[in-house]
Amino acid sequence: MDPMESIKQTFFQECDELLLAMEEGLIAIENGEADDEIINAVFRAVHSIKGGGGAFGFEDLVAFAHVFETVLDNLRSGKLKAGEEAVKVLLRAGDMLADHVAAARGGQPLPQGQDDDVKSELGALSGEPAGHGEEALADFEGLAFTPMRIEVSDTPVETPAKIWRIAFAPHAALYAKANEPYLLMRELATLGKVEVVCDLSKLPALDLVETDQAYFAWTITLETDVAREKVEEVFEFVAGDCELEIALVEPTPPTVESSAGQETHAMACAADNAPIRAAEKKEVPPAASDSAAKQTIRVDLDKVDRLVNLVGELVITQAMLSQRVLECDIPRTSSIGNGLAELEHLMRDLQESVMAIRTQPVKSIFQRMPRLVRELAAQTNKKVRLVIEGEATEVDKTVIERLGEPLTHMIRNAIDHGLETPEERVAAGKPEEGTVTLSAEHRGGRIVIEVSDDGRGINRPRVREKAVERGIISAGANLSDEEIDNLIFMPGFSTASQVSNISGRGVGMDVVRRNIVDLGGRIVIGSAPKQGSRFSLTLPLTLAVLDGMVVAVGDQTFVLPLAHIVESLKPRQKDIHPFGRGRNLLNVRNSYVPLVNTGALLGANGAVDAASGVVILVESQGTGRLALAVDAILGQRQVVIKGFESNYQRIDGIAAATILGNGRVALILDVDGLVSRCRGELSAAELSEFRPTGT
């Protein structure tokens, strides 16, 4: 790819990191926890975005960043104090900058004037009128001659050949900054014909020469047709560290070169340099490396994926090996048995370490939430405080990417429906400001993420009413509080009297739940009226691996994802009831669930009938439950997920495959697919109304 395109991508990646650092810093400033270093970091973030943005010509972005940066500069120099109002403006500016970056990334600048308000607020803070946008061109204040606008002089007015006489006498400072008169003259020589005469009058006897003093002066005659600015430009770096005079001379024949002067010049220069190098070596203090800063490296995701796959293979092979050894009746206590146990132990460690490479702190997702909360609070006119806990908790990259949407929906719901208005809250004896808590932690090999609020809790009578209205439950159905709460996961369910323009259409909790279950997780609600609600998500640490229950069905072995399993039970014949066309229902604690002969469904031979085997009760988001009759449960284990669709095609009812310890392929069942197919047109209402005929 074009190198500039590649750097542009780098730029946007860097912007993401810088915007994050900026937001963190601004929040710290808001909480009064910011020190100078943090304020500086915020300044640098905006400064860097401006710098990079300028290189790619993102004018609007640069113009806005410049105004923002000016205010931040005042803040870090102490000229501006971070009062509450000022901080609010800075936060808004941060959001606006993020919008500019997003717009630049998408190739479409923001609509004209969108940032005017924030810009003027920033201008007010810095005491400068807004619209100060133009990037200041190179200024050369403090120089001996008039400032040059280099961009303008790109095509200088060419003049007929002129002769300039340049008197140039460097000060010691010029050398101290590693400027070299020889190089300046070399550059002059590129402009035209140059003759140099060196004035040695100030040079003392050699033994009195001090290495850091300046003794030489030159008179340079330059015959050129370039404009004066170009001549001045050669000296731009050293102006102020020398005596400089550039005068136009009437064209005259060139002066005779003074060869003596030239030689002395060369010799003197040599003498000049040598002593400097011979100067006593001073100890340079060793660079103090910040040992507290973590070292990181950047790795291609492909390489990591390959590593993860290889380790997955290793795990399978090791399991197979262990199995074969067992089958050979080699005792576990033998040296082989011990060796294998050791191997298994190491494999588990290896797998954990490799999985950990792909993990990232949830911070990257959580960090988007403060802005979301700010916007929602503004839109709903509610006062909201967001508390974030456990943002360092690490989750697999693949899971993190898909968490964003469900979390956003849940926070929207919490603020939109959960929290009351400030007036309502005060009336209820609560603080005006509602609190939404977002937390993450590791628990028992899974990740638990919770979104809770201290709002009004789930309105159970209302939810129940709505469910009856929609035919989801029958009017007489007897439901526990928990079951009522879970009704909100039904498709199309929304108790808001009008669809709020925030939560919008089609982003109900059913979508959220589906997203979580797709990730192999579960979502559970807890709620107390008037006190608040809590949603708990449990997620697997990674998507490549699945917790499954291995079952035997006839002559085959299948795997059921644990995330979908409610319970397993041994059915009694009398609990099985025929229903409709060749179907059966299973009575599970007085609620009726369709019973499926898994062997028949999947074409396995020799499956036992339902009453002789085991029933696994599975659940699919909002669609309902199914009772799968299998022969036996073989165990529970973590399996590595293998696809087969790329080599074959989709199969109804089958999600993926895995390789068991015996080396054989076992199919992983697609519970959602099975439930939809088997429940078919049956509605929860029909099921809840079923009464067995006779006993």
Binding site: G312, G603, F644, S646, N647, Y648, Q649, I654, V665, A666
Partner: protein, 161 residues
């Protein structure tokens, strides 16, 4: 081989084929698509799949579908045992295994020696056949693995039980 001989070979456009037997027939497939040859192992059946899809096996961590060539050509089901062979083929962006009776040898055949399929033999076979190679007294049916593998996408599925 001399330069001129080599030139001659290239000119004649020889291709190399692995030949194998299935039922009473001998078939050939371009060596470029053959990945490996392995013995038969029990497959895990795939629900709702056509009868010629025997199932899947574990090929060093890859889940490989195995197609019974005899059944695919409409000639009945292979009674597979350890003596049978699975030819692993990569074509049309898929890797699959082909169940055959045995592998014979490698042939080098020029394009000139491959004759088009006779009109009479219009059956299941025809869709996947590139042509027939006649060498000495052998008749080898040259199969197009690309077409065979690609046909899996549109394979009719048995209805749900």
């Amino acid at each position: 081989m001399t330069m001129s001989e080599k030139q001659e070979q290239t000119n004649q456009n020889r291709r190399q084929f692995i030949t194998f037997r299935s039922g009473e027939q001998e078939f050939g497939a371009d060596i470029m698509v053959i990945r490996e040859i392995r013995g038969w192992t029990e497959t895990t059946p795939l629900p709702h799949s056509p009868d010629y899809v025997r199932g899947v096996i574990n090929l060093r961590g890859v889940v490989l579908p195995v197609i019974d060539l005899k059944a695919r050509l409409g000639r009945g089901r292979t009674d597979a045992n350890v003596k049978h062979v699975i030819v692993v083929v990569e074509a049309s962006h898929r890797t699959i295994g082909l169940l055959v009776d045995a592998v014979s040898d490698i042939l080098a055949v020029t394009s000139a020696e491959i004759q088009p399929t006779p009109e009479l033999a219009r059956d299941e076979l025809a869709a996947f056949v590139e042509g027939i190679a006649v060498l000495d007294e052998r008749m080898v049916t040259i199969l197009s693995m690309d077409r065979l593998t690609a046909s899996l996408v549109s394979a009719p599925m048995a209805q749900a039980a």
